[in-house]
């Protein structure tokens, strides 16, 4: 069993109104020492695979086809083998 941890974020060139609203609200409420806000999506997938490389290849395809919009978003991920109870 493998666990994939996937981060999907907007490309830096894409305006993110949600992050802007959070930063404006923080400033208005007195947390004006926060200078940058990034808002992204986080996914965890648990999957079976023949080997680490096969799991990574499948996760990359799933990100590319389903989880990220590659026109406006970038993704990165890690795949770890999970400890299995004997």
């Amino acid at each position: 069993m493998y666990k994939a941890k996937i981060f999907v974020n907007y490309k830096p060139s894409v305006l993110d109104p949600k992050a802007q609203v959070i930063q404006n609200t923080l400033t208005r409420l007195g947390d004006d020492n926060v200078s940058h806000v990034l808002v992204g999506k986080y996914f965890e997938l648990t999957l079976t695979a023949a080997c680490q490389a096969a799991a990574e290849k499948q996760v990359a395809r799933i990100c590319d086809e389903m989880l990220a919009n590659v026109n406006t978003e970038t993704f990165k991920f890690t795949v770890e083998e999970m400890a299995v109870a004997e």
Copy 2:
């Protein structure tokens, strides 16, 4: 400068239809070896603070008050000091 990396996820007892839709779609498209999907939110805040402990205290308060709905969501975060160019 400190960078906070924040994960906000539904509590395990809360149904997550978005995760269910992703898992169903993966199964339908042939990726039926994916046994669990978690969908969460990811935030990065860049902030100044007097010390690590002060930064962590402030980030915990921001999560509690703004970024997470503590009735249905849990949050966890890490705070790291950022390397500053001399």
